[in-house]
Amino acid sequence: MDIPWTLQTGAGAWNPLLWLVGFAVAFGVAWLVRSRGRPDNRSGDALKPFISGNEEPENAGGHIPASNLYWGFTEAMKTYYSRLVPFHTGIPSDYVAWLLGVMALMLVIALTV
């Protein structure tokens, strides 16, 4: 069975067009299910977000600034970041030192192996 436009990866295959067809079918099914729901449930209170029965907060100030996103991730990885970030000193001569360092290391490896 040879379907055209299929990407052979050696271990598997990937066909975006078939995937899109599957996506469209799933979308169609979801739309069908939704269209069979109760039409009177689409107005009034049902449109409001449900936040455990609390009042919805005002919109203003509701935007979370970027620094606060993934606070947990950076906090959990603190030891990793506290070691990694200091390497990025921003000093031009350090940058040159890294380049020459890697070059020296590779020279040693290439000449000994």
Binding site: V85, H88, T89, G90, I91, P92, S93, V96, A97, L100
Partner: protein, 118 residues
């Protein structure tokens, strides 16, 4: 022995120049001195290029009225000329960068040219 040593002289000079250049690039705090190191490095490479084209007792590679067949290599000299031109452009640009940085940051200490980091 002496001849061999003399023939090796340009390459020793290249090595010394390279060491000086690397020293200036890595350990000098003044940006201008770093750029001088860069210029030294250019000279080292240019000298290396010309030196590998040298043939003992060779003459300049001009073919009219040539007295003998042994000539130095013309290709590397052409390469060196190109490299010199590129070097001049680089130096001019980098020095103008240093000038602007001194105007805006008030320093040429490379350890302070690090507004961008992290």
């Amino acid at each position: 022995m002496i001849t061999r040593l003399l023939l090796a002289m340009p390459f020793l000079t290249v090595a010394v120049l390279l060491l000086l250049a690397l020293g200036a690039l890595l350990f000098k705090r003044n940006l201008i001195k770093m750029l001088m190191g860069l210029s030294l490095m250019e000279s080292a490479v240019n000298l290396f290029l010309v030196a590998i084209g040298y043939r003992q007792d060779g003459v300049a590679p001009i073919f009219t009225n040539v007295p003998q067949t042994l000539m130095v290599l013309p290709t590397v000299q052409a390469l060196t000329l190109t490299a010199i031109v590129i070097g001049v452009a680089t130096s001019a640009m980098m020095l103008s960068f240093a000038m602007v940085i001194y105007k805006k940051y008030g320093t040429v200490d490379v350890r302070n040219i690090r507004k961008l980091n992290g």
